[in-house]
């Protein structure tokens, strides 16, 4: 089969502690702008953006989640069925890095098998206040098979690069089609897959 100009669609979810810059990363990637005061995300927000690789186009369906720990109960609803995840921390906060590690573990345990996980140390523009060393995060990422980059949503440094790297790493199988990941709000729902409504929207 010829892969030329094939469009692949992937579901990608952003996870991480509150105010580490998840929404800002997405907005920088999708709309190319940055807001000094990005309102907190409640529940989740959805955006889409495409990345062109050499011979293929990868379309990301991006779910940007709420960071507050309380909204954790909602998170499985958003990461279920995701083929990729970006776990974000703030390089100025060790707590946020530890939280990121917990997210990675949760994804490895409960996320889709073969999920591509990227670890992003955000707010690189504020490197003078750094608390999490690059080497430390790099090492953790390597040990766990994660993509790793330090980014700045404010200066756009490494933002597109991060998404391109993820796009490259995702398996380009022709059947790739998200959708089954959108599930009702019930936290544990084993019958969810059966519950598909007539899916003929075009």
């Amino acid at each position: 089969m010829n892969n030329n100009n094939k469009i692949f669609q992937f579901k990608l979810v952003l996870l991480g502690e509150a105010a580490v810059g998840k929404s800002s990363l997405v907005l920088r990637f999708v709309r190319g702008h940055f807001l000094d005061y990005q309102e907190s995300t409640i529940g989740a927000a959805f955006l889409a953006q495409t990345v062109c690789l050499n011979d293929t186009t990868v379309k990301f369906e991006i779910w940007d989640t709420a960071g507050q720990e309380r909204y954790h109960t909602l998170a499985p609803m958003y990461y279920r069925g995701a083929q990729a995840a970006i776990v974000v921390y703030d390089i100025r906060s060790e707590d946020s890095f530890e939280r990121a590690i917990k997210w990675v573990k949760e994804l490895q345990r409960q996320g889709s098998p073969n999920i591509v996980i990227a670890l992003a140390g955000n707010k690189l523009d504020l490197a003078a206040k750094r608390k999490v060393e690059t080497a430390e995060a790099q090492q953790y990422a390597e040990e766990n098979g994660l993509l790793f980059m330090e980014t700045s949503a404010k200066t756009a440094q490494n933002v597109n690069e991060l998404f391109v790297e993820i796009a490259k790493k995702l398996p380009k199988t022709p059947t790739t089609r998200p959708g089954s990941g959108r599930l009702p709000i019930t936290p544990i729902d084993n019958n969810a897959a059966k519950k598909k409504t007539c899916c003929n929207g075009n």
């Binding site: 000094d36 907190s40 989740a44 507050q68 109960t73 899916c199 929207g201």
Partner: protein, 968 residues
């Protein structure tokens, strides 16, 4: 401290019992026992009330954007004072959340401080009304305040011409009134610092009104302005000596008062001179400095220049020697010994020894004024605290002060803020006013660049004419006391016509009666009326006056009587100037209890969510000047913290409460306890079930109800959304978890909540349905991704249209659709009330209704486009044999598996459809879902079907054989 011995409470000042204390007084007189149609006498006591606009330039320190690579130091903004100055010039101030402050941070801080000035209420202060951003200059703020044309300056000028001196008793009365105002300011931690004969105004009753008292505070003690604040003649020595911030304390005002009293007694300022250096030296001489080349000649009573002393004098500041000899020599010119004593107290060189304003007010000399003071001496405390103390014994006696011959006198006072609001409503515009009065001089905008440096004219050979405007533009850095006075006489004419008769109030009462009742939908006027109310000055005057009366009753009388009245009247319109107070009253907030509760919470302890608050607050509605200011952040933090500490056991903080609290903080800025109590009451009413540790079940329930109501009203949109798998949980959670406060901007939240607060707590469902319906035509064309893009445009929704639509939908929806129909441990016979698993219920695209709604549905009046009524259609899908045995009147028997097609059902499109199904429910669910998918609106299933009817309404049913039924 204060002499509170004057216990006589029957005073002649009617406005002591009005909601607003000071402003424009109106009095409406009418005969009590005559018909309503009579003419009323309206008198207005404005006392020469005017509005003034003070164009005020502040120093734009946060000016130039340095590239972050050049300023590594900018990452540690909260460092010590060493590089504090440098910090201020670095625009990208970065706080702990990593969020850069905007360039106009200082203007936002000025705005938020101005809100504090607006909370001050005192009989001898002009009301500070508002600070408005200038549209012409980025570094200018327009200060709007109450004003009067007569000032002490003018009094002294007139007196100089007539050479009749002011009686000492009058001077003492001035001193008393100024001291009262100063004491009030000082008790609020404000220093006037700008007291001068120009800033002491008189109203037409010759009462003193201090003005310009906020400039020093607004400018952060002079930090944000490039000019020195205060008149040099009255500047205290310690203010002259130390130019740094914070060098002036309230004692500086006492010195200034002494200077001014002396000025009045003598008719001129004895140390005045054209050269400010000489003035400075003379003041410093009085302060005790002997090396200033100035001395006072006690013979000629003039200052003289002397040669500098040959040897250095010992540091003699704080010495009274010079001032005492000075005062002694002029003592004969001051008739009253007491007054002389007060002046000499005021002019104490050492600020530590100088008495405070409140100490001076205790001087026995002022006792005569205290006894006759119409304003009781409770000015020491802020009015919000003392209000509850002057609770009248019998409210009706005061609100309607009865007089002889059955004449009723109805008093009210409109505050400056309300006057300003009404003036704007009449088309008033401060920018236009400034232009027409020649205050806004045109200058090229390039001259306003922050770091604009005028090039010296000698360097420009060619363009000499260019130099003039450059120099002129520097006027902005000099203190300009000039204000633009606005006459508001045309407003008085409106006042008179508004209150001339009782007609407007009556029509307002008629209007609110139809607000939520079913009449409103037949009556297309409802929408028209709401928009006409909004812009009708006379209606608003009547409305504001009526709300004053009700709010006063609510505060001091029986709230259970006045609250329902407020509720009803608010349905006509909520004037923005009273929004905060009305919202709180509607939510049942009591000021006194609110303060007691709020201040009983220990905010010094560490709270569980402190860190989260610090992350969320700096990004919550930051486009709003108050919420993005330092004061806004700290107030919101304390309110959220108080809420979370109070609810530590039952509730918890969910992101979004910050958005919910914001509108209340904006309306009660600097009144944290009231803002807090309003937030608490709001959460209790709308969000209690969501702000708990586990809200999944409630959230699912809400999402399902919303989904079903959307199907009920717009099956086409609802089925499309389901087809593209755009389910409510993906977009509507923030709507309901914040009552739209996260979704909309604050101006839209205001309008929306005005309605939501007055309606049953189910209204948000209908708002949500109406909101998404506004984007229906777009969404219908879209797939999942584009659909969600359209949904992200919902913040641009037309809120007023949405409200009208939601009220219409609310009126056309059976009440039981939004009520939980299931109870735990329901009796086996009541199978329809037993809880069903959420998964099963999610398959139902339609709402269920209770039997009461079916019974009442006969009164329902859905209409088609031509206004023809569309009565409810009751479809019974049980087998014909069961149907014949017993059925509901006017119901149609229908075989659900029969050959019905969408076109055959078209005939009942638009009618409410209630389905009565067999007990198994499965057939009913399938049938109703089918109707929804056929895009038939208003489909509902009768919960429990015939069993429920037989259980609760058996007498209404039609039985095959009436005799059989009676036997059973």
């Amino acid at each position: 401290m204060s002499n509170s011995n004057s216990s006589n409470s029957s005073n002649s000042n009617p406005h002591h019992h009005t909601y607003k204390k000071f402003g424009i007084e109106i009095c409406i007189e009418y005969q009590k026992q005559q018909q309503q149609q009579q003419e009323r006498t309206v008198s207005i006591n404005s006392k020469g009330y005017k509005l003034s606009i003070h164009p005020f330039f502040f120093k734009n320190k946060l000016s130039i954007q340095l590239p972050s690579t050049l300023t590594p130091g900018s990452n540690s903004p909260k460092s010590s004072t060493a590089n504090a100055d440098q910090q201020k010039y670095i625009s990208s101030y970065v706080d702990d959340a990593g969020i850069a402050k905007p360039l106009n941070q200082s203007i936002f801080d000025i705005f938020s401080r101005s809100k504090f000035l607006s909370t001050l209420v005192h009989e001898n202060l002009v009301e500070f009304i508002a600070a408005e951003p200038s549209k012409k200059h980025h570094d200018q703020i327009l200060l709007v305040s109450e004003d009067y044309s007569n000032s002490l300056l003018k009094v002294l000028q007139r007196q100089a011409k007539t050479s009749i001196s002011i009686p000492s008793n009058t001077i003492s009365s001035y001193a008393y009134q100024i001291l009262k105002a100063l004491t009030y300011l000082h008790s609020n931690n404000l220093t006037h610092r700008n007291l001068s004969i120009e800033n002491i105004k008189f109203n037409e009753k010759n009462e003193i009104k201090l003005t310009n008292y906020g400039l020093y505070f607004l400018s952060d003690e002079g930090e944000n302005v490039s000019f020195p604040i205060g008149n040099l003649l009255y500047l205290s020595p310690e203010s002259i000596l130390k130019e740094s911030k914070g060098s002036s304390n309230p004692k500086a005002d006492v010195w200034a008062l002494g200077c001014i009293l002396l000025h009045i007694c003598l008719g001129y300022c004895i140390w005045d001179d054209n050269d400010p250096n000489i003035v400075t030296n003379r003041i410093l001489y009085l302060f005790g400095f002997n090396n200033t080349c100035q001395t006072f000649n006690t013979e000629t009573l003039e200052f003289q220049e002397i040669d500098p002393p040959e040897h250095e004098f010992a540091d003699s500041q704080y010495s009274r020697a010079n001032i005492d000899s000075f005062l002694l020599s002029i003592k004969s010119k001051i008739q009253n010994d007491n007054l002389f004593e007060i002046i000499s107290h005021c002019l104490t060189p050492n600020p530590l020894d100088r008495p405070s304003s409140s100490t001076l007010l205790d001087h026995p000399h002022f006792d005569q004024f205290k006894l006759n003071d119409a304003y009781k001496p409770d000015w020491i405390v802020k009015p919000s605290v003392i209000k509850s103390m002057d609770l009248p014994d019998n409210l009706t006696d005061i609100v309607y002060e009865k007089e002889t011959r059955n004449i009723v006198k109805d008093y009210d006072v409109f505050s400056g803020l309300e006057v300003y609001y009404l003036w704007k409503l009449m088309g008033g515009n401060i920018e236009k006013e400034l232009i027409s009065k020649g205050f806004a001089k045109p200058s090229p905008s390039v001259h306003k660049l922050p770091l604009f440096v005028p090039v010296k004219s000698s360097l420009i050979q060619s363009g000499t004419s260019n130099t003039q405007p450059i120099i002129k533009s520097n006027n902005s850095i000099l203190y300009n006391n000039e204000v633009c006075i606005v006459d508001i006489d045309n407003l008085f004419v409106k006042f008179k016509s508004a209150f001339k008769s009782n007609d407007i109030l009556k029509s307002l009462e008629d209007y609110q009666a139809g607000y939520l009742l079913n009449q409103s939908k037949k009556d297309g006027n409802a929408t028209y009326k709401a928009s006409s109310l909004k812009n009708n000055v006379e209606y608003q005057m009547v409305l504001i006056k009526e709300f004053h009366r009700l709010l006063y009753e609510y505060q001091f009388g029986d709230p259970t009587l006045s609250q329902p009245k407020i509720f009803r009247l608010a349905k006509s319109f909520i004037p923005p100037v009273l929004r905060g107070d009305l919202w709180s009253a509607i939510l049942g907030v009591n000021d006194k209890e609110a303060a007691q509760l709020y201040y009983s919470i220990n905010l010094d302890q560490k709270g569980p969510n402190d860190k989260q608050f610090e992350l969320d607050i700096p990004r919550c509605h930051q486009y709003h000047p108050l919420l993005s200011s330092k004061q806004g952040h700290s107030q919101l933090f304390r309110i959220l913290k108080a809420w979370s500490l109070l609810n530590i056991e039952k509730g918890c903080y969910w992101q979004g409460l910050d958005n919910v609290a914001s509108p209340f903080l904006v309306h009660h800025f600097y009144n944290e306890s009231k803002a807090f109590a309003s937030v608490k009451a709001f959460v209790d009413k709308y969000l209690k079930i969501l702000y708990v540790p586990n809200n999944m079940a409630s959230l699912s329930e809400i999402m399902l109800t919303y989904q079903q109501l959307l199907s009920y009203h717009d099956p086409e949109l609802s089925t499309h959304l389901l087809n593209i798998q755009l389910e409510p949980d993906l977009y509507a959670i923030p709507w309901f978890i914040t009552v739209f406060a996260h979704l909309l901007s604050l101006d839209k939240i205001d309008i929306l909540w005005d309605t939501i607060l007055l309606c049953p707590s189910s209204l948000p469902y209908f708002i949500a349905v109406s909101m998404i319906s506004q984007f229906k035509s777009h969404i219908l064309k879209m797939n999942f991704e584009d659909g969600i893009k359209i949904i992200s445009m919902i913040p641009s929704v037309d809120v007023e249209k949405c409200i009208q639509d939601a009220l219409f939908k609310f009126n056309n929806t059976p009440l039981s659709t939004t009520v939980n129909k299931y109870i735990s441990n329901a009796d086996g016979d009541l199978w329809w009330m037993q809880e069903k698993p959420m998964d099963a219920r999610k398959k139902e695209l339609f709402p269920r209704i209770g039997i009461h709604d079916l019974i009442n549905s006969n009164n329902s009046n859905n209409t088609d486009n031509n206004g023809q009524p569309l009565p409810v259609k009751i479809i019974d899908i049980r087998s014909p044999s069961f149907y014949q045995q017993c059925h509901y009147p006017n119901s149609i028997n229908m075989n659900p598996k029969g050959s019905k097609t969408p076109t055959q059902m078209e005939s009942i499109r638009g009618h409410p459809i209630v389905v009565i199904a067999p007990p198994s429910d499965i057939e009913g669910i399938d049938f109703c879902n089918q109707l929804v998918k056929w895009k038939l609106p208003y489909v509902s299933l009768l919960n429990g079907g015939m069993d429920a009817l037989q259980h609760g309404a058996s007498t209404l049913l039609i039985y095959k054989n009436q005799d059989d039924s009676t036997k059973q």
